[in-house]
Symmetry: C2
Subunit: 245 residues, 2 copies
């Protein structure tokens, strides 16, 4: 029950490999008879083109890599959905890799994607308290990539968020509603988003002359407990379900 190849098809139809390949790729210039023969044989034997082989000669794989932190985080799974929809529209498939907030995992995944010769990469990297050597190294390679967040001194495509602005808006909303005892839950120390949002919050509070009570500042939140169903007893299931990165 091996996979049938173009050579097999050539043998059974009595044609040459190149002819079979041509017909299968809808090239011009083949007699209707030949076309028929090839197509019928392909159908009959359940021929499925081997994209690995195709990729080797065409030097492209039709795959892109997406490296995120945690697929159970709604921010990332919505983003993944979007990436996937667009990829699909363009005939691409996506490799999903989760770094799980581990710098080592991030490095490993990027290398794996390069080994698999993806046609492109979308990366949501850890942005604080880590080195970016692996990203600079990636930049020396032929594979194009987009980063979620800017890296100092690296000229490349990025998607950025106004985390400072968001933090300010949130603080202002609460202050304008007349609140003064406002708390803040910070995320992991590797999250630049969390850092910026907190800075904005602190700046806004200071500007309005409202003191921050340290009792209400928390650190290292890895997620929000939600009402989401959980896969019961899945290993040491780390919950990390609703906090944007």
């Amino acid at each position: 029950m091996m996979n049938i190849t173009i050579a097999d098809l050539a043998k059974v139809t009595g044609l040459a490999k190149s002819t079979v390949s041509g017909v299968l790729n809808n090239k011009e210039g083949f007699s209707a008879k030949t076309r028929q023969k090839v197509l019928q044989a392909a159908e009959k034997y359940g021929y499925v083109p081997n994209e690995i082989a195709r990729g080797l000669s065409s030097n492209s794989t039709g795959s892109i890599g997406l490296i995120i932190k945690d697929i159970t985080n709604p921010f990332y799974n919505h983003m993944t959905k979007g990436v996937q929809e667009v990829a699909e529209e363009h005939g691409y498939t996506v490799f999903l890799c989760s770094s799980g907030e581990s710098h080592q995992a991030e490095i490993k995944h990027i290398q794996a994607m390069v080994r698999k010769r993806v046609d492109g990469l979308v990366i949501a990297p850890l942005l604080e308290e880590v080195s970016f050597d692996h990203i600079f190294a990636l930049n020396q390679k032929p594979v194009p990539f987009v980063l979620l967040g800017k890296i100092q001194g690296l000229e490349c495509d990025t998607v950025e968020f106004d985390d400072y602005g968001g933090g300010r808006q949130a603080a202002e909303l609460l202050l304008e509603s007349g609140h003064t005892r406002i708390g803040f839950v910070r995320g992991l120390s590797t999250s630049r988003a969390s850092k910026l949002r907190f800075e904005a919050f602190a700046d806004t509070m200071r500007q309005r002359g409202v003191p921050i009570d340290e009792k209400f500042i928390f650190d290292g939140a890895k997620g929000l407990r939600t009402a989401s169903p959980q896969v019961p007893g899945w290993r040491k299931q780390k919950r990390r379900t609703a906090l944007p990165p």
Copy 2:
């Protein structure tokens, strides 16, 4: 800035391709000097093995395909996380495909995965009101797969859920708490899980002699609105965030 190959390394070191390959694959029987030379050159020129080429001759890709309905559904993203963790432990990478409740998309994705010659496939297929021809066809091919849910007349690996039991338990819990005006929100008609849960609910109600009020039965729920952050304005963003399949 092309990708560097084993042949390039052979050229710059003045060694043979097979020597380079041997060293890179940690084979026995090479002088320390040769080893050094190869490793240094590989490092210097940023050599990254081409898994496409490797896959072509080894007839394996180190990738598995995962076909689910919607990655923003917590049931599926937790499942995806699990699949991914195990895959990674074994040195595999996963292709993520979302069928989005479309039978056509499911078929298309399965074919794409076969073309990409994944080493295996995990599929959460639509189970009601659809044909299974594509699954039977898949079963004729060399690629192993696991299904979420059983298909009549198909001998293959499956993972199953006790949806009927769950529906019964839920009904019993409410009845035993003294409730009688109980509603039920059914999912899509292609969801067997939803169908079975409703049957269990209806059976339980009947057995207890509690009448079902049709006013409280709803159909076609595609998701639960949650407090999850949304990617704002992402196309016609269909929300489908928290209902198990």
